[in-house]
C-alpha cells in the first residue's frame, strides 16, 4: 500500500517519488489550482489550509497558511520559477516558523506511467545542515498525528521481535 519512496541523495537533495492513478494533466492541476491544493496538502490530521495563493506562472507567488485548533498556525511562501504543463513545476519555498527557513528549491516532474502518472519531486537544500533542519522541522509538524501510529508501530514491532 505504501507507494511513496522518500530518500536523500548526496548532502543536499531529498527525493520523493509516487505513482498516481490519474493522468499527468489532473495531477499537475491538483498541484497548481488553489481550490484543489487546499483539499490535500494538509499534512497530519487536524490541520486545514485557510489561505492558499498559487499564481501558477513564472515569477508567480505561492502562499500557504495552515491552521490547527490546538497547535496554532504557520505559513509557507514561495515563487514559481518555471512551469511546463503538464509535466514539470519548478519553484522555491520557505517555511515561516515564524523565522523563515532557508530556501528549498523544488522540481516536480509528472511522467505518464501505466494509465497514470509517476511523480518525482526533487528538493535541493543549500547545504547539509539545512537539509537536516528541514527534515527535522517537517517531522515536527508531522509528529502530532504520527504519535498514535508510532505507538502502534512500536507495539507491533516489539511484539514481533520480542525485543525490549
Amino acid at each position: 500500500m505504501s507507494k511513496l519512496i522518500l530518500k536523500t541523495e548526496g548532502d543536499t537533495h531529498v527525493i520523493v517519488t509516487r505513482h498516481f492513478a490519474a493522468p499527468p494533466e489532473a495531477v499537475y492541476r491538483a498541484h497548481t489550482e488553489p481550490e484543489l491544493v487546499q483539499k490535500w496538502m494538509l499534512g497530519p490530521e487536524g490541520w486545514t489550509m485557510p489561505v492558499c495563493i498559487n499564481e501558477a506562472k513564472p515569477g508567480g507567488k505561492i502562499r500557504y497558511e495552515w491552521a490547527h485548533p490546538q497547535r496554532g498556525s504557520f505559513y509557507l511562501t514561495g515563487e514559481f520559477l518555471a512551469l511546463e504543463p503538464y509535466s514539470r513545476i519548478v519553484h522555491v519555498e520557505r517555511m515561516h516558523l515564524p523565522d523563515p527557513t532557508p530556501d528549498n528549491h523544488v522540481e516536480t516532474r509528472f511522467v505518464p506511467e501505466n494509465n497514470g502518472t509517476f511523480m518525482t519531486m526533487r528538493m535541493i537544500l543549500p547545504d547539509a545542515q539545512t537539509r537536516a533542519a528541514m527534515l527535522a522541522s517537517n517531522m515536527e509538524h508531522g509528529m502530532e498525528a504520527s504519535y498514535v501510529r508510532l505507538e502502534d508501530r512500536l507495539k507491533s514491532g516489539l511484539a514481533r521481535t520480542g525485543a525490549a
Binding site: S2, K3, L4, L6, D11, V16, R18, F20, A21, A22, A26, V27, R29, A30, L36, K39, W40, M41, L42, G43, P44, E45, A128, Q129, R131, A132, A133, L135, A136, N138, M139, H141, G142, M143, A145, S146, R149, L150, R153
Partner: protein, 119 residues
C-alpha cells in the same frame, strides 16, 4: 533555540560527511579510534572529536576493553532517527492519499460532464 533535543543533536551530527562515513564504518562492526582514523586519513584526536559529537548525539557508544575503547553504533539513537524519517514519510503519505481522492473526484466529474454533454 534554547535547548537542543536529542534528535536535533542527532540530525546535526549526521549533517557532516566525515561523521556519516564513521557511522557507515561502524555499521559494519565495532572499531577502535585507531581503526577508524586509518581509512579517513585523519589524526586520532580529530576522529575522537567526531566520535564525541556522535556519542553526545546518542548515535555511538563505547565499551572498555583493557586499554582500548572500541566504539559501536547505539541502536536506540539510530532507531530514533529512523522513526522520525518514517514520520515524515507518513505525513507525506497522508497528503498523497488525500490527493488520490481529489484525483478520483476530478476523474468522476470529467466523466459526468462528458455524459451530460448534449449528443
Amino acid at each position: 533555540m534554547s535547548e537542543l533535543l536529542p534528535l536535533d543533536l542527532a540530525f546535526a551530527a549526521v549533517a557532516d560527511p566525515t561523521r556519516r562515513a564513521i557511522l557507515a564504518r561502524l555499521a559494519r562492526g565495532e572499531a577502535t579510534v585507531m581503526e577508524l582514523a586509518e581509512p579517513f586519513d585523519m589524526t586520532q584526536p580529530a576522529v575522537s572529536q567526531h566520535l564525541r559529537v556522535l556519542e553526545d548525539a546518542g548515535l555511538v557508544v563505547s565499551r572498555i576493553e583493557g586499554a582500548k575503547r572500541p566504539r559501536r553504533l547505539a541502536k536506540a539513537g539510530i532507531d530514533a532517527m529512523d522513526q522520525w524519517l518514517a514520520m515524515l514519510r507518513k505525513a507525506l503519505e497522508k497528503n498523497y492519499d488525500r490527493l488520490d481522492e481529489v484525483l478520483a473526484t476530478m476523474g468522476r466529474n470529467t466523466e459526468q460532464k462528458r455524459k451530460g454533454e448534449p449528443q
